[in-house]
Symmetry: C2
């Protein structure tokens, strides 16, 4: 004898979400019974509309409810600058900072020969097309500093070599507020290599 069918089904659905196991799903389903009708309605409506309402921007491939996302459509932003990121989430991370005013380009993955993800499997063609068609002056590569990230960054700089654009990469190093005890050796090595002069001593 288990839970009533509707609750069982809801438990099964919650269990599909990342990081949610049997116990948490059970707790969430039982808690859902107590939610206000208003929230339930919004929940149902958002889920039901999700797949039909959310599309990819035809320019930058970011998540949007329109053909062109609000960022690409915003004339006040710097249309000479493209920040290349792995996934839509990263766009929102940069937007939360609020200091970047250029455009984005969402790759939807990183090159990974081990996982059989080749350059043609990620959204690179459209990046090339944008650089040819739009007046892009700088491409900032903002992917994570893993083997896949570095491979992707290298590949992008290769294919953009003969285009008239500056290519840059976000800085990697010791994060702010980090306890030096817990910074791993590779990060420290990178931080040392990419050190910046703060004063120059010339004899």
């Amino acid at each position: 004898m288990l839970y009533p069918e509707t609750i069982n089904n809801l438990i099964e659905c919650y269990k599909k979400l990342p990081g949610i196991g049997e116990k948490t799903a059970e707790r969430m389903a039982l808690y859902s019974l107590e939610l206000d009708q208003e929230i339930i309605d919004l929940f149902v409506q958002s889920l039901a509309n999700l797949k039909s309402k959310i599309k990819r921007c035809q320019k930058c491939n970011n998540l949007t409810q329109n053909d062109i996302c609000p960022i690409c459509a915003d004339e006040s932003r710097d249309h000479n600058l493209i920040c290349v990121v792995e996934e839509p989430k990263n766009v929102f991370q940069f937007e939360k900072i609020g200091t970047y005013h250029g455009l984005y380009h969402v790759l939807d993955g990183l090159i990974s020969p081990l996982e059989n993800i080749n350059p043609e499997d990620i959204n690179l063609d459209s990046l090339l097309k944008r650089i040819d068609e739009e007046k892009i002056k700088e491409v900032i590569i903002a992917v994570k500093p893993s083997v896949e990230g570095e491979t992707t960054a290298l590949y992008i700089s290769k294919i953009l070599e003969d285009k008239n654009v500056t290519i840059s990469k976000i800085a990697h190093g010791v994060p702010l507020g980090a306890d030096m005890d817990y910074v791993d050796a590779l990060t420290l090595e990178l931080a040392l290599e990419e050190r910046k002069n703060i004063t120059s001593h010339v004899e």
Copy 2:
């Protein structure tokens, strides 16, 4: 610039669930985009039906989709035995063990003078009524061993004093597989007090 509205709404809904913060809700909402349409449909349907389909059993107050829950309706179970629990979840915990074949009674709370939860606020009247009307021989009190649990247990045994029923309480002690180092002092005290003879030595 935040996520598209539908995703924002979904994030807000996930955040209402217990233990889900901003970051997890974001991750869950973005992941929801990848769920199979089949799962989304089941999710939408379960949530939409939740409040209307799930009722309380008119006998034991457990969650059910019928007027009388499948446990109360099951003629093969022992209808002389009632296990009193705090919430519906506990019923399913006992059902998972599979060795208990009596009925249940869901209190929906425990007596707590501090939180102003009095005997009349929990589902005790219907318990009394069941003992008068049904042929109950034993009432097993299976609530947690907290102050509220003990108060509720004491209260139930008081009001059932003059009824012709046996009243018992589930055993409390050191849980199976527990490391003795981590068992708290109160549990140890209780375990010592409620010790059981395994052999009797008589001179």
